[in-house]
Amino acid sequence: LSLPIGCGSRSSTPADGNADADPDRPRVALIMKSLANEFFSTMERGAQEHQSQHSDQYELITNGIKDESDLGRQVALVDEMVASGVDVIVIAPADSKALVPALRKAKKAGVVVVNIDNRLDKSVLEQENVSIPFVGPDNRSGAKTVGDHLAKSLSQGDKVGVLEGKTTAFNGIERRLGFEAAMKDAGIEIVASQSADWETNKANTITASMISEHPEIKAILAANDSMALGAVAAIKAAGKTGQILVVGFDNIGAVGELIREGKVLATADQHGDQLAVFGIETALQILGSTDSTTDDVQTPVDLITADTLAP
């Protein structure tokens, strides 16, 4: 069940007051996905801050969609941004495959395109015969790091549950694979693995029933922090706080608190606020150079635990 009217797109005024004064500055469109996730509001804020410090270099317009499923709208946004004459599109695609044709058209129209956060599907890129640089983290190894850290607190033979992200998002799949690898290495069994679509409330419901179906579960591995929040609440409701560990991914503000309180064991910081910035910088570089082929840029992922957080 879901919500209406695709009002979900977001944009912000160019942070620079006299945006129109300098027609030579390139216009950069940042197209994000699910605004139902604060990961992206953090991302947006990071980008805006960067822009205000470099307002002489580019103009920024940001948009997003209401949730991960609003794919049609994201494709439309690409069209609209091309229509409104932007020079650069930095995009976190909601779907690894479906965005490729639209982005190919954008490139054909002379727009520089950079892919961030969620990697576009390699085979589709090949079939469409486009190359789009990816700027983002290695989600699988990031998730593996989190999983490995969790494994230290568990013992061999323990049972855990996994909350997957959207099944159509490449980074969600990668994180699941990372979790699985870590558990396999430590000899821990995954007894339940379901997608909660990156959402808090869905994760809450699913975790609650995972716990009553598998009372022996020792930990929940959530592919992002929104879902980790839902898991923590479900564990609390079942009266098992402390008995079931939770790990997440993203390091959103709300989770920092939970880590300090010990309700979440660890998360991965993929520097969401910098992710768009990396993308924008890469795009501006391409714009400035004559060489049109660019390599992917891997951004850092850091493990966050109570120890790494300043008290």
């Binding site: 879901s2 604060e38 079942a238």
Partner: protein, 334 residues
């Protein structure tokens, strides 16, 4: 006049003898039957289903939807619809979160404002739709967007972690093993049912939903009642915002997206007419329970997500279908 082709004869050949009460009692029995059936099915499919922990987990989930469904029943009875419930819930819990986190208010000081925020949204819905006479579908669809936008403004689009200060609402009261949230929901159900069946207010709501013009021509001004119902729905969404926040310990700007369809489904499963004039709060509650048991059960038996959706869809249709067949049987043998 006769709005659903699927009910072509309802208005002109109502069941002969059945009174409102009798009808809804029969319906009640049918719903309990469906519920029991679901519990048995899930109990036999999953060894861990028939356990106290499952019931606790269901009891934890239902307060939000129950509170909303109570208000929705009333709104449907007067012949309106409220699509904005999810956004109002989110807005109220955002207000709660802002007060408790940013302003450091206590829970008790914040609750009235949380509920008032919901009631205010409901007042807007009611006033615009009733006084300007535009379909509540559109007004509340507008509010769905507006309140969601306001929520994001209030929370700055960030999930606000409130923490243990709000958790008490969702935790079992010592000795009772029921949480205040659950008790609030039950109170709302009982209060709503009494309001609808025993008070002048409720009677007028039913009358307005049946034939607003006849009510007007009886010298009763419908507006205060119709508006009142939207305010009640809004206030209950405010309460639901509180229970939601307490369940997740956070004020989540994306809370309860899409809950309107679940709430309406619960009401219709419970026999409330989308055309107004007919509804039972208790039966809507049973509708909520059916949905909750179905959700929890399906999650526990671990069928795949696609199958889960297919089964959910089928059960919704079948629940109403059974009810329709049964009531047709009643009428014809009666």
């Amino acid at each position: 006049m006769n709005p659903d082709p699927s009910l072509p004869t309802q208005s002109t050949s109502p069941p002969v003898t059945s009174t409102m009460n009798l009808r809804s009692v029969i319906q009640y029995a049918g719903l309990v039957g469906v519920l029991v059936l679901l519990v048995i099915v899930f109990g036999s499919l999953s060894e861990n289903f028939l356990q106290w922990s499952t019931f606790i987990s269901i009891a934890n989930q239902v307060p939000d939807l129950t509170l909303i469904a109570v208000g929705m029943t009333l709104v449907l009875v007067v012949g309106g619809i409220d699509l904005s419930v999810g956004s109002i819930l989110a807005f109220s819990s955002a207000v709660l979160g802002a007060l408790m986190v940013d302003w450091q208010w206590s829970l008790w000081a914040s609750i009235p404002f949380c509920v008032a925020a919901g009631a205010a949204c409901g007042l807007f819905n009611g006033c615009v739709s009733v006084l300007a006479r535009i379909p509540s579908f559109i007004v509340t669809l507008g509010m769905l967007e507006i309140a969601r936008g306001a929520t994001k403004l209030v929370t700055d689009s960030q999930t606000k972690y409130i923490g243990s200060a709000v958790e008490g609402i969702g935790e079992p009261i010592a000795g009772l093993s029921l949480s205040p949230a659950f008790l609030m929901a039950i109170t709302a159900v009982i209060g709503g049912q009494l309001l609808l069946t025993r008070t002048v207010f409720g009677r007028y709501c039913i009358a307005i939903g049946t034939n607003a013009e006849a009510v007007r021509m009886s010298g009763i001004s419908a507006a205060p009642y119709a508006i009142g119902v939207f305010v009640i729905s809004g206030a209950l969404c405010g309460l639901a915002g509180l229970t939601y926040a307490s369940r997740l310990s956070t004020a989540d700007p994306n809370a309860a997206i899409g809950i309107e369809l679940s709430a309406i489904a619960a009401c219709v499963i419970g026999g409330t007419s989308l055309m107004g004039g007919r509804g039972s709060v208790v039966n809507s509650f049973l509708g909520v329970l059916i949905i909750a048991v179905l959700q929890t059960g399906l999650a526990q038996i671990g069928v795949s997500d696609p199958m889960k959706q297919i089964i959910t869809g089928c059960v919704i249709v079948i629940a109403v279908l059974l009810d329709a067949l049964r009531s047709r049987l009643d009428t014809s043998t009666n």
